[in-house]
């Protein structure tokens, strides 16, 4: 049973890796407060995007690249303005940016 469970986990992990990037964007868009999602490669070129995102794929890649000189890969960079919050993270060469409504004032 343990080996069967490990096999099933390995297969589902592989299926997640093969899942189209657009499907991942769709899943992220369903989260509350998410306005847009963009996935960018190491050259700053957009791989997939959904929702309200700016034409700034190069800037997103550059933010992640500059942050990696401060901390290791996988760091989460959060940019907040009065009208928008952006979360940027890079993993295995792909930078993902999620554009959200800013947190409500308490």
């Amino acid at each position: 049973p343990c080996s069967a469970l490990a096999d099933a986990r390995a297969r589902s992990g592989a299926a997640l890796v093969r899942r189209p990037m657009e499907g991942v964007c769709e899943t992220a868009m369903q989260s509350p407060g998410v306005l847009g999602v963009m996935c960018v490669d190491s050259h700053g070129l957009c791989l997939a995007s959904q929702g309200d995102v700016p034409q700034a794929s190069g800037a997103i890649a550059e933010i992640a690249a500059q942050a990696s000189s401060l901390v290791e890969d996988g760091a989460l960079i959060c940019i907040t303005s009065p009208t928008r919050k952006v979360m940027v993270s890079r993993s295995e060469g792909v930078t993902t940016a999620i554009f959200m409504d800013p947190a409500p004032n308490l």
Binding site: H43, Q55, A61, E62
Partner: protein, 126 residues
């Protein structure tokens, strides 16, 4: 007439090695960056001027820009007919940053573009 606005955009082009603005026949009108790569970029600019005309016949509308990935560099050619804007960056550079700035660069070249068009029209009449 173009230099001030165009020049102010250049610092935003992170990783830029060489920039050329050429006419349709490859004559250099504006240059920036490393002069060592100029000759190669100039030849490619002249080729692109003809290529962009042919790609316009594919039924997809006018070609705006072409990005070519090489082993040693990435080259972006933008069509501002009768001018060609060519940019060369390192092979691992963030070419997305260059593409993000391309509309502003092309807009900044508008006065020079119009001037060259007028000169071409006048020389065509003479």
């Amino acid at each position: 007439m173009t230099s001030k606005t165009f020049q102010s955009l250049l610092p935003r082009l992170v990783g830029l090695k060489t920039l050329l603005v050429c006419d349709g026949e490859g004559a250099i009108l504006l240059r920036a960056g490393d002069s060592g790569s100029e000759l190669r970029l100039q030849r490619l600019s002249a080729t692109f001027a003809q290529t962009t005309e042919h790609t316009g016949k594919l039924g997809l509308g006018k070609n705006r820009h072409i990005t070519a990935f090489y082993e040693d560099a990435i080259i972006v050619h933008a069509s501002c007919l009768p001018l060609v804007l060519s940019l060369m960056v390192d092979a691992d550079a963030n070419v997305g940053l260059i593409l993000d700035e391309l509309p502003q660069l092309v807009a900044a070249l508008a006065p020079l573009q119009q001037h060259v068009e007028r000169l071409n029209t006048q020389s065509g009449r003479d």
